[in-house]
Point group: C2
Chain length 94, copies 2
C-alpha cells in the first residue's frame, strides 16, 4: 500500500463519531470527492447483481452527488456545469 502524504491523518487510526465527522468535514472542504454519502462507512462499496437487474440498462452514479446513490439520478449534470468537470455514470447492461 502506498504511504500517506506527510502530515495527513490516516483514516484507520481514527475511530468513533467525532473522528467520522472530522473526516467528512475534510472531504467536503478539501480534495475529497464524496461530500455526504454514507460518511459513517469507512469505504462505500456497492454490489450489483447483474442477473437480477430489472431494466435492460441501469445507470450507476460515479459523481457522488446522486439522491438515489448508488443509482444515478442525473445530478452529474449540475455538478459538471457548476465545476467544469466531465463525469458521468457507469451503465450496466443485463
Amino acid at each position: 500500500a502506498p504511504a500517506p502524504a506527510p502530515g495527513v491523518g490516516r483514516g484507520r487510526a481514527r475511530r468513533g463519531t467525532v473522528a467520522v465527522r472530522a473526516e467528512a468535514d475534510t472531504a467536503a472542504a478539501g480534495s475529497g470527492i464524496n461530500p455526504a454519502i454514507r460518511k459513517e462507512e469507512a469505504k462505500v462499496v456497492d454490489t450489483v447483481l447483474a442477473g437480477e437487474l430489472s431494466k435492460p440498462l441501469t445507470p450507476y452514479c460515479r459523481c457522488w452527488r446522486s439522491g438515489t446513490f448508488p443509482l444515478c439520478d442525473g445530478s452529474h449534470v449540475k455538478h459538471n456545469k457548476a465545476t467544469g468537470d466531465n463525469v458521468g455514470p457507469l451503465l450496466v447492461k443485463k
Copy 2:
C-alpha cells in the same frame, strides 16, 4: 435541467483544445472530482455488458483515480488516506 450557478461557465459553450484544457484545469483546481481521465470527452460514460464479464466479480472505479479506468485498480485507497474521503468501487457480479 437545473440552471448553472451564476458566473460559472457552461461546458457546452466551450469548444476546441484550449477550452477543453481550461475545463480540465478548473476541475483539478476546484471542486471537480475527475482530475485527468478522458478530459477531451464532454461526459465520461462507460457501459458494462454484464453477460460478457470474464470474472464472477468485477470492481469498477468511482474515485476517478484509477490507472485502469473504468476498472478499479485500488487507487481509491491512496485517495482516501490523503483526503479523509471514504469512496470505493462498484462491484458488478455476473
